[in-house]
Structure formats: structure tokens, C-alpha cells
């Protein structure tokens, strides 16, 4: 690390005059030393990456390093800055910043990552944004006070103005920026008292809506450049396979096809436009070496997963002595729960644009990980990081898929190979068949009740592939992404053990909205329901009796109360309940369902309670809960990736179906007024949906759903 960086680290906040008149407030949180992924970041890239610019036209521009994929991060950051800086939200413009160490999310600490994931943007940056806004307010007030020759304590800021209390003096921020730029910002400007918040915690309009309703919003797939070529890549349909040989003659005969080049992922057909690239790839004569997975089927994978729980696994949590308890229990219940592999299926198919030149490289697109994208570009081009520019566009959905850089690498390699700017565009079939899937998981549960019906023993053996191992986070004995939620079971059970069996069936796996929680909530909250039933107890009361005082209990109670738990329902309607803490937020949901004689399940309503600590924009929280629920319902009812001959069987939305308008339930969101630690909102609404719905299906039919997606033919009556 350079000496300059050491200085920067002591300067939490720095101020620079802006050419053309303006004030740049740059700030940088002294995080722990960056990890391996951060090694490519330039050590001294501070000056162009300031977070806030106040212009002499009173406009405030914020550079945000986090990616906007629908979760509302750009608007949320603007709200926090506007609150402390004392400007109106309408005075703020938000832009995506470059890849830079200043944008490492403090929430990821030593990992050193500019990555949008883990529902960590607002909670990671919140203190930093508030401090920066407050410091900006302080220097602007000081600049005004100096010009009026009055103490700063007699001045306050309001709506982008500094006002002298007790006189008529006031000044717009824009008139103060030149003087403010010469001041030293205070390291500890006082933050606003939350009771004085004008914006935070109150519903506000997003800043990115207008261009999203008139076609002007620019996603990665919309990037335009002079001389831009479009590529489609042929990839081996079998995971782990590679190109044996190819003949480009027919592909090159297609009008508009310019180049056919081999890259790591396969063969790229590079053409004047998408349609020519598509036809060229269709015409490409290619032979694959399918590798060791060529014969693999879902049955094989299931056998591997099931085999792993036939024996003890790595211990993720151990309380009391489960093994000694089985002889004492009055009732023992066993069950097996299974979840499939899942694709992300973002609406915008994967794509990325790269312009690799001898002296530099620019890449454009929707990425959740600027750090990894920059690292890939540096590795492939051999260029120093300061010659590489990462331009982040809007993301047409992320859900964890765009944290991967496979499509980024394709674009960079294709551009490098042909010496021109290239946009790689995937088809939907590419997207479904070449994902980094939510790993399938096999779960064997054993639960024990004492004579009074108290849950006294819980053994959960789960198996899956390791997402962490696949992403360079080491290969620990227990992958937290595999057991999160399961090992954090909040219920007070005296004897409890959670074990994980690590398997690697050869399918690429990745972070899928709510990651491990996406299946551990389903398996644990459904099996818990089984235990409640075995104990002859109400599922809600059973849970409440085992939860310690605190946020779990509070949020579960709120959901149950708002849903009218225990009160009569419309005839034929039934309720189920579930809760899960994830990403520091606590969510409980009550599902109301009916099941027709033919087994068709209708989800009428989800009542959702969330405690995510202090809120920024409750309207966004409501939207994210709706979104999480839709995502979770798709997984519960439809989502399943299967494998045959080493290939993904599903191809497009006709056989990898997504929840549609007519299937969306009513969603009621209740937000706990909380001053506890802040949690995320982009993911925590997903985990409880499937178990709440499946527990309601049990209430309706007496049939347990132990495998997703729900097979409604098993629910047929008669």
C-alpha cells in the first residue's frame, strides 16, 4: 500500500474544489485491509471517486458504487445524503461510480469487495453516508457563517440553503461551494437526531422511475458504441466440457458475421448485429468434448446428495447431546426434505460489452461485482487496473446471477480476440442452461418430543455443493451459505445438532436470492410444523413457546396478529405460518391458501411482517417484500432445473416457468418500528414464503410437502 493511501485512511473525509465551480466531498472508510479480490484495485484512485458533488447550480450529484437492480439502492443512498445534507430529494442526481476501492462495501470488511449482494448496501453504507452528508452540511454552514461574520452555531441548513437564525440572511448552497471547498471538513460533524428526520423512515418516490416507463433507461443490453459488434457464444452444453473442434465456414457465410473466435467459454460468433450473430452461431459446426459429466442425470445427483446424509457430516452447530436424547424421547419424528437446483432467470439475459485496446480497456454492463469484473479485465488484458474502466449500467435483475463474471470474461476475451468493441448477448436458453444455480439440497431431519410435547431434540443433516468453495472464499469445514438459517435456528431446543455433507456433483453453483436461507427456511420451518402437529400444538403457539424474547418473537407475533391467526377464515381457506431471520432482518409470514379438488393451490394472501431495524424508505421495503414473495412463490410452485446427459433439460420460460400476474397473491406488509440494528430488505422476504404456503397446504389437506416444487397432483382428492 502506498504512503498516500495511509494518509487517505486517516482522512475520513476530504474536500476538493471542482473545476468549473463546485464542491466535492470525498470520503473513505478505513476498512480492514482488502482481501485477495481487491488486489487489482489501484492503491491511489481516490480523487475521481468522490461520493458527493455539490455544484454551484445547487444540484447535488452522488456517485454510488452499488448496482441498481431494482432494489432501489440509488434512491436510498440519495435519501440518506439528502437527509443529512439538508437538501431536497429533487435536488439530487445519482450516478453509478467506477470500480474503486472507495466503493468497497464496509459490510464485507476484509474481503474488500465492491459487490451488491447480501442485502448489504444500505446497512453497509448507512453510517458513512450520514457522516458525509453531515460533514457537507457543516462546511457549507461554516462557509456561510464566515461570509456573514457570525458564529456557525447561529446558522442552520434547510432545503439547500444556509439560514442565519435571527436575521434575514440566507444563502443557497451553490453560492457557498467555492468558499466551502477551502475549508477542512470536520471529522465528527454532528448527525441529525432521528426524531428530526424529514425523509428517512418515510415513503419517498424512487429517482429512477421516469426513464423506466418511457424506454430511456439504459441496461447493459442497450449499450451503444461506434463500431460495436455483437457476439453470441456457443458453449458446451455439458458442464465441464470443452471445444473439441469447430469449422467456421458455414457461420462465416452468414451475412453480417465478421469473426468466429475461440474463447475460454467456447466459440464466439461476432457479427454486425444480434440477428446475424444468432444465425452465425446456429450455423456453426462444432464438436464438443463433453468431459466426465457427459452421462450425468438428476437421478445421479440426487443419489450423491442423499448418500451424503446417510453418514454424519461436518458439524455446523451442536447443543446438548442429541444422540443421548433419542432413548428418552416420548415421540420421534423423521422426515426427508429435498429442494432442486434453481436458475435465477433475470428478465434481462446476461450480456456485457468490452472494448479492449492496447493501451486500455473499457467494459460496460450490469454487474453486481465491479471488483470481480475489474479483476477479470486485468487478468485477461494484462493491463494495470488504472487503465481499465468499469461502466455500470442498470441491471435488468440481478438476484445474485450478476455477481458472476462469466459473461464479463466472454465479452473481454471476444473484444481482445477481434480487436474491436464487442457486446456479448445471451439468449434465454443460454441463460437457463448456463447459470450458476442455487444448489439442490437433501435434508434428513429427526425430531424428538418429551412426554409433555416439548421439542427436546433436533438433528438436521443437510447436503449440498459449496457456493463459498466455488467463489474463492476458501473451503471451510462448513460452508455458511449451505447451513445459514439451519444452524441459526432461533428456537430453544436443548439438544440440537446441524451437520452438513459437502458434495460436488459438477454443477456450477452460485448466490441465488437469499442463498442458503432460500432452502433452510423451507426445510426447518416445515419440519418444525411437523413437530408442532406431532405434539398436538398450534404451530404459532408452538413456535412462540420456544422463542426467546426479542425480534423473532416480536415479528412472528405481528404477522400472526395482523393475519388474524386462530380466527375463522372463508370456508376452504387455510393458514400456514413461518419465520426466518436472514441478512440481519427478521421476517414472518402467514399464507392463506385454498386447495381445489384437482390439487390446484391458490395462494390468496401473504401477510408479511418485517423487522429490519431503522428504515430508509418504507415504500421500497413494501415493494421488496412483494418482490421477494413473488420470487419465493415461483420457487415453491414452479422452479426446478433438472439434468440429463450432463445437460440442463429446461430451455426457456415455457419449461422454466415464472409466477405470472394471475397467480400473484395479495400481499400485506407490516414493518416493525425498530431501533435495533439495521438489516437488509432485498432478500429476507423470500425464505419464509415456501414454508408458510406448504404449512397452509398441510392445514388444508393433511399432506406434507417435503419436496419443492410443490407437486399439486399429489394434492388431488379422491
Amino acid at each position: 500500500m502506498s504512503a498516500r493511501l495511509e494518509v487517505d485512511r486517516r482522512d475520513f473525509l476530504r474536500i476538493t474544489g471542482l473545476a468549473g465551480g463546485g464542491l466535492i466531498l470525498g470520503f473513505y472508510l478505513p476498512a480492514a485491509s482488502p482481501g485477495a479480490h481487491a488486489a487489482v484495485m489501484p492503491a491511489d484512485s481516490f480523487s475521481p471517486n468522490a461520493f458527493i458533488r455539490v455544484g454551484d447550480n445547487d444540484r447535488v450529484t452522488i456517485l454510488v458504487g452499488q448496482s441498481e437492480m431494482g432494489q432501489g439502492v440509488l434512491s436510498a443512498f440519495a435519501m440518506v445524503i439528502a437527509e443529512e445534507l439538508e437538501v431536497d430529494l429533487s435536488a439530487i442526481d445519482v450516478q453509478n461510480g467506477p470500480a474503486a476501492k472507495e466503493f468497497f462495501n464496509p459490510a464485507f470488511g476484509a474481503l474488500g469487495m465492491q459487490l451488491t449482494g447480501g442485502s448489504a448496501s444500505v446497512r453497509g453504507f448507512y453510517p458513512l453516508l450520514r457522516k458525509a452528508g453531515a460533514a457537507g452540511r457543516a462546511v457549507l454552514i461554516q462557509a456561510a457563517a464566515n461570509s456573514w461574520n457570525v458564529p456557525a452555531s447561529e446558522c442552520r441548513a434547510e432545503h439547500g440553503n444556509v439560514i442565519h437564525i435571527g436575521s434575514a440572511k440566507h444563502a443557497r448552497y451553490g453560492t457557498l461551494v467555492a468558499a466551502a471547498a477551502k475549508l477542512t471538513p470536520p471529522a465528527d460533524a454532528p448527525l441529525k437526531d432521528p426524531k428530526d428526520f424529514r425523509l428517512l423512515g418515510k415513503p419517498a418516490k424512487r429517482l429512477d422511475t421516469a426513464p423506466k416507463v418511457n424506454g430511456q433507461a439504459i441496461f447493459g443490453i442497450d449499450v451503444k458504441l461506434p463500431g460495436l459488434l455483437t457476439a453470441r457464444v456457443a458453449r458446451c452444453p455439458v458442464f465441464g466440457g470443452k471445444v473439441a473442434k469447430f469449422d467456421a465456414t458455414k457461420a462465416k457465410a452468414v451475412a453480417g458475421v465478421r469473426h468466429v473466435v475461440q474463447i475460454d467459454a467456447g466459440v464466439a460468433v461476432v457479427a454486425d448485429n444480434y440477428w446475424a450473430a444468432k444465425k452465425g452461431r446456429d450455423a456453426l459446426d462444432i464438436t464438443w468434448d463433453e468431459g466426465p459429466n457427459a452421462g450425468m442425470t438428476s437421478v445421479d445427483i440426487n443419489d450423491i446428495l442423499a448418500g451424503a446424509v446417510a453418514q454424519p457430516g461436518a458439524v455446523a452447530r451442536n447443543e446438548g447431546n442429541v444422540d443421548a436424547e433419542w432413548v428418552k424421547v416420548a415421540k420421534k419424528v423423521e422426515a426427508v426434505y429435498e429442494v432442486p437446483y434453481l436458475a435465477h432467470a433475470t428478465m434481462e439475459p446476461m450480456n456485457f460489452t468490452a472494448d479492449v485496446r492496447k493501451d486500455g480497456c473499457d467494459i460496460w454492463g450490469g454487474t453486481q461485482s465491479q471488483t470481480w469484473a475489474l479483476g477479470a479485465a486485468a487478468r485477461i488484458t494484462g493491463l494495470p487496473a488504472d487503465k481499465i474502466n468499469v461502466h455500470t449500467t442498470l441491471l435488468g435483475g440481478g438476484f445474485g446471477r450478476r455477481a458472476e463474471v462469466d459473461f464479463v470474461i466472454e465479452a473481454i476475451q471476444a473484444s481482445k480476440a477481434v480487436g474491436a468493441p464487442v457486446k456479448v448477448v445471451w439468449t434465454r436458453e443460454d441463460d437457463i442452461q448456463h447459470d450458476f444455480y442455487r444448489p439442490g439440497s437433501y435434508n434428513k431431519f429427526t425430531g424428538g418430543l418429551d412426554a409433555s410435547g416439548k421439542l427436546v431434540a433436533w438433528l438436521h443433516r443437510t447436503s449440498s455443493a459449496s457456493i463459498f468453495a466455488a467463489h474463492g472464499f476458501g473451503n471451510p469445514p462448513v460452508d455458511d451459505a449451505a447451513v445459514e438459517g439451519a444452524k441459526d435456528l432461533p428456537y430453544q431446543i436443548p439438544n440440537l445438532r446441524v451437520e452438513w455433507g459437502h458434495v460436488e456433483p459438477g454443477i456450477p453453483v452460485g448466490f441465488w436470492r437469499s442463498v442458503g436461507h432460500s432452502h433452510t427456511a423451507f426445510t426447518t420451518e416445515c419440519f418444525l410444523d411437523e413437530m408442532a402437529h406431532a405434539a398436538g400444538k398450534d404451530p404459532y403457539a408452538f413456535r412462540m413457546s420456544m422463542l426467546p424474547e426479542g425480534r423473532h418473537k416480536r415479528v412472528l407475533e405481528l404477522a400472526a396478529t395482523k393475519a388474524g391467526w386462530g380466527k375463522p377464515l372463508i370456508e376452504g381457506h387455510f393458514r400456514g405460518i413461518a419465520q426466518q431471520e436472514s441478512f440481519n432482518s427478521f421476517v414472518a409470514q402467514v399464507a392463506e391458501v385454498s386447495v381445489a379438488d384437482d390439487g390446484t393451490v391458490r395462494v390468496h394472501k401473504i401477510v408479511c411482517a418485517i423487522d429490519c431495524g431503522p428504515t430508509v424508505n418504507p415504500d421500497t421495503i413494501e415493494a421488496q417484500m412483494q418482490s421477494c414473495i413473488a420470487y419465493g412463490l415461483t420457487a415453491a410452485f414452479k422452479g426446478e432445473i433438472t439434468f440429463d446427459r450432463g445437460r440442463v433439460v429446461q430451455r426457456n420460460f415455457h419449461d422454466y416457468q415464472i409466477l405470472r400476474m394471475n397467480e400473484m397473491p395479495q400481499v400485506e406488509v407490516h414493518i416493525v418500528q425498530s431501533t435495533d440494528a439495521m438489516g437488509g430488505v432485498g432478500e429476507p422476504g423470500t425464505p419464509p414464503v415456501a414454508p408458510a404456503v406448504c404449512n397452509a397446504i398441510f392445514a388444508a389437506t393433511g399432506k406434507r410437502i417435503r419436496r419443492l416444487p410443490i407437486n399439486t397432483t399429489e394434492l388431488r382428492r379422491g
Binding site: G215, A255, M347, L394, G396, N652, F653, H654, N662
Partner: protein, 197 residues
């Protein structure tokens, strides 16, 4: 014109998919009318958002890619390429069509309207409602959602929930903004009533 027919007839023997195009060109006079040869190339005349455009593309190219790649109108989105998701929805003579499976030659001579060109009171009321209710999340599918909703409201100023289901179920939103889409369509319908339109 004879050359145009001749070329298509030759193709007919190769590929079943091209049969449809040939059929269209032979039986629908407008398809002939708006295709013409210029400097030895077949040019297709389109009317997009009220403006005439002449494009030199393979007549079998889906309209989607002509809009996006040839004309630079990127508001219309690619989602699936097989009319499953509705992200590519545009209007052809006022009807919602999936431009990812609509050959550009079949759009010749028709009024093509994209998200960039919608200007009717119905469309404006929808866009306003979309903004007021903060419908979009990632926003990628929303052009298609609005284009589908615009046809619904043009034909039915007072849609019920089941009317909305019927009209909108072809449009996938992976962010799950369905609740707000439904509310925004109702709100737009209300505002049109108040406006006396």
C-alpha cells in the same frame, strides 16, 4: 418483384420456417408493397412511431432486432425470443404483438408503435400511474408491461381484475411488481374517467 418472389421460392425448399414468410409475401399485397429493391438490395419500408424508415435487413429478422439494432430503439426489450415473456411487446396497428417472433416483413406497411412513441391519453395515463405508484423495480420488463396495458385500456376503459389478468398474464415480471401493475392500471383507468376521455 419477380426477383423477390424468386428468392423466396428458392428458400422455401430449404426451411419450413421460411414457408410462412413466402406465404405472407405471396398472399398479402402490403408485404410486397412495402418491400422494394434499392441498389440491388431488398429494402423494407417501415413506419415506426409515425416516422417512415427504410431498412436493409433480412426479411426474416424479428421486428425486435430491427427496432433495437437497426433503428436504435432500445426501449423494447429482449427477454425470451419465443413470445413467452412479453418484454418485447410493441403495437402493430394498435394491437399488442411480441416483436421477438414477428418477422419485420410482416410489420411492413403497418403502424409500429414502441414505448418511445406512445403518446395517446391512455398511454400517458398509464405512464403517470406507473410513476405515481413507483411500479418498476429493475424496470426491464416495464416497457412491455405498459404496451400490453395500453392495449387493454384502449379496448376496455373499466377493466376488472380478471380482465387485467387476462391481458397481462403474458408479461412476466421477475421482480414481481404485479400488485403495483394492477393498481396502476386501475388508477390509470380512473384518471381517464375523470379526464372524461
Amino acid at each position: 418483384m419477380a426477383n423477390v418472389f424468386g428468392r423466396c421460392k428458392t428458400k422455401l425448399t430449404h426451411d419450413g420456417a421460411d414457408l410462412r414468410y413466402t406465404f405472407a409475401i405471396q398472399t398479402r399485397s402490403n408485404a410486397i408493397l412495402f418491400g422494394r429493391k434499392e441498389k440491388g438490395r431488398l429494402m423494407i419500408d417501415l413506419k415506426v412511431n409515425g416516422a417512415r424508415q427504410s431498412v436493409d435487413v433480412d426479411p426474416a429478422t424479428p421486428l425486435l432486432w430491427v427496432l433495437r439494432d437497426t433503428l436504435g430503439l432500445t426501449g423494447t426489450k429482449f427477454g425470451c425470443g419465443m413470445a413467452q415473456c412479453g418484454a418485447c411487446t410493441v403495437h402493430l396497428d394498435g394491437q399488442a404483438v411480441r416483436s421477438c417472433v414477428k418477422r419485420v416483413s410482416d410489420a411492413a406497411g403497418k403502424e409500429i408503435t414502441t414505448i418511445e412513441g406512445i403518446a395517446s391519453p391512455v398511454a400517458k395515463s398509464l405512464q403517470s400511474a406507473w410513476v405515481e405508484l413507483d411500479v418498476p423495480q429493475c424496470g426491464y420488463c416495464q416497457s412491455g408491461q405498459i404496451m400490453s396495458a395500453a392495449v387493454l385500456l384502449s379496448e376496455n376503459r373499466n377493466p376488472t381484475d380478471s380482465d387485467i389478468d387476462e391481458a397481462m398474464t403474458g408479461n412476466i415480471c421477475r421482480c414481481g411488481t404485479y400488485i403495483r401493475i394492477r393498481a396502476a392500471i386501475h388508477q390509470a383507468a380512473e384518471s381517464l374517467k375523470r379526464g372524461g376521455k
